[in-house]
Point group: C2
């Protein structure tokens, strides 16, 4: 047990908002309130580390307790977020602000870049002789942090995607006689975890999505068109999920060649997204009407489709970070370790912030079909518990045909 | 009371899927089952009127009753939809099929075009001497049918849009330091009802959407850019909802000039949507980073955000259609008449199918702000009850600032 360190706490949020990042702040605050002897002040830093640099700090103890607990079902980032790359030039300023507000505990929610910031704050303390304990709380819809089974934020975006793709698939099936091909473009740069989660939409034979493309498997356009044609020939319609970060076999983002990029009336280059591009290729080469849905940021911050498992783990990771820091931990990120699949259970662990900051967890080979257009059962088994229980059951008609009486 | 007409019933779905169109089918079927003496057979026509033309008919009595009632919470169109313009050349074929299956009742869910089909089936009966009663059941997310207070399907898409825009607004507020402007592109061709419903997202001061643009008010680009700049100057970010059908002052769809349309590697012209275009104009003229969300068909078929008021009215309209037809009505559409706002109550009425088919209800002037960038309180009062109760409450921090201690 490390020596007891008395001082105030600051918590901040960084990177893209999620449906549960506020639950982590609630977890930090409510746990800290229990340790008022060690942590007398609970401070929120507005817009990530920038709130420390600009001294934009708020007193979380002055919020109603109901407001704090209500954060668990409020999406986005209540403290505001940022994308700030911390450098050593910032250290003196940070220590000055920490000292002025007697801050000894620093909790940062975010992805790789944010874990780099948390790591630097921890190192800074050691280098500059100012004792501070810095613990990272994982947060990324992208699910691409290493050393953790999964990341808070992923389960909820996965639930949104599964639910919405199921609905969009029924829509396509219903009106496939008109709009034959639909592409849903899903977030993700290098890692296709969220797009892969669209497989959880499937609840009956031939259910959407019929094809899934992720950045881990480069797209060959001819093979892609063959895949689409095959599904269309079989069903009369096709729903495809595609990660916005998919690449061609040359490793470049899949979109119209630069010479073909839209230049608008003001001379500004417009770069269509991958779904827009693939729709045009399908229309052109397969002569099939294709349309796309690009839900964008809506998918990552839906309170209505928050996963309860995700919310509870996000909250728990925040509380665990406080407990670990009080116990002496610094320079670590809280991780989630899976204990069992069914019933799903997890526990918390720790990983070095430095290691987390420099790693990116892509979808492993065993989760992706060899053909590069789907996921495997192993992936479904991995992801299913994270969305917090199965989607509500839908009613599907047996459709008993009446005998034809007219020739 | 008209003479009792004994015969089977056929129900079909047409036009774009919605979150509650299946509830209308459940309403038709369950009401019909109660009148087995008059209506011995309850038949579903697959893919709208095309199911009649191709004799693709199913026996709804052979479905489990639980499956039928489960349709109320299953989105899209369980019988399949179509966009088929019925002509007199089809009449003989329809009567042949009706006669072969002893069909005397025809129920069609849909918008203007579908009401035209229902009207023709009613006329056809009179002209050809085959007694059939045809009643329309309103269904359109666009809410643009005349002679009815609103249309089943609208309340649910409105709830989806309100909820998603609220979430997207919090997202933009949280990360506005990076992504300053966000545009959410919402469905609608000539009528901006769905986009207008984004106003129901607002639950606190300065809440999103900050600007709302609908086709009823042409966009002047300079004024639009001024609006965006004003909001940005005040808040540091801005969320805009824009209907995909908005037009410029020349009455043409708002997008890059045709000479600037993207031509992809295969020579296929790609036409960016309006949000994509406006993002590029904002980036170019205001030098602000802008991004867009285009949820597309996902917005119209969400079971998770189905409005209970909408679902119950869609079901009720189906049941009412059956009751009215048994009582002798034909050539009419069931309408919804608002009885009171608070508590919200409605009752059903009837309108001539011919009149409905030839009218389009745009947003009236009193629901739109004179500046053309927002809706009025009168609109909010109109739309609020239709989404089925207020959105769940979110937690917003007071953000009590700590006194600055460092210069």
């Amino acid at each position: 047990m490390a020596e007891k360190l008395k001082g105030n706490l600051v918590v901040a949020q960084s990177g893209g908002p999620t449906a549960v990042i506020n639950a982590s702040v609630a977890g930090v605050a409510e746990e800290a309130f229990k340790h008022a002897d060690t942590i007398p002040g609970v401070i929120g830093s507005l817009h990530g580390i920038e709130g420390v640099l600009y001294e934009d700090l708020i007193d979380l103890a002055q919020e109603d307790r109901a407001t704090i607990s209500g954060l668990t079902s409020t999406p986005a980032a209540a403290l505001g977020s940022c994308r700030h790359k911390l450098t050593e030039a910032d250290y003196d300023r940070i220590i000055e602000v920490f000292r002025a507000h007697d801050i000894r505990y620093f909790f940062y929610t975010g992805g790789n870049d944010s874990m780099d910031t948390a790591a630097r704050v921890s190192r800074m303390g050691a280098e500059k002789g100012y004792e501070v304990r810095s613990v990272g709380i994982p947060k990324t819809i992208d699910n691409d942090l290493a050393f953790t089974d999964h990341c808070p934020g992923f389960g909820s975006v996965a639930r949104w995607v599964a639910s919405s793709v199921r609905d969009a698939g029924l829509d396509t099936e219903a009106i496939g006689v008109v709009d034959k091909i639909k592409i849903v473009e899903i977030m993700g740069r290098n890692a296709g975890w969220i797009t892969a989660a669209s497989a959880l939409a499937r609840d009956h034979e031939d259910a959407a999505p019929h094809l899934i493309y992720v950045p881990e498997k480069p797209i060959n356009l001819d093979r892609f068109l063959g895949d689409v044609q095959n599904v269309y020939d079989r069903l009369g319609y096709c729903l495809i999920t595609v990660c916005e970060g998919v690449k061609g076999e040359d490793g470049k983002p899949l979109m119209a060649s630069t010479s073909a990029i839209n230049v608008d009336a003001f001379g500004h280059a417009q770069m269509g997204g991958v779904a827009d591009y693939l729709c045009s290729v399908i229309a052109d080469r397969l002569k099939l009407k294709a349309r796309f849905d690009k839900p964008g940021t809506i998918q990552r911050v839906s309170a209505a489709l928050q996963s309860p498992v995700d919310r509870d783990e996000a909250y728990g990771a925040g509380a665990e970070a406080v407990r670990q820091a009080i116990a002496g931990v610094t320079g670590k990120m809280v991780t989630i370790e899976r204990v069992s699949d069914d019933p799903y259970r997890s526990k918390f662990g720790l990983a070095d912030l430095d290691k987390v900051a420099n790693a990116e967890k892509l979808i492993p080979e065993e989760f992706l079909s060899p053909a590069g257009n789907d996921v495997t059962e192993a992936f479904v088994k991995y992801a299913q518990p994270l969305i917090g229980g199965p989607l509500p059951k839908y009613s599907y008609l047996k459709k008993v045909a009446l005998p034809k009486k007219v020739s």
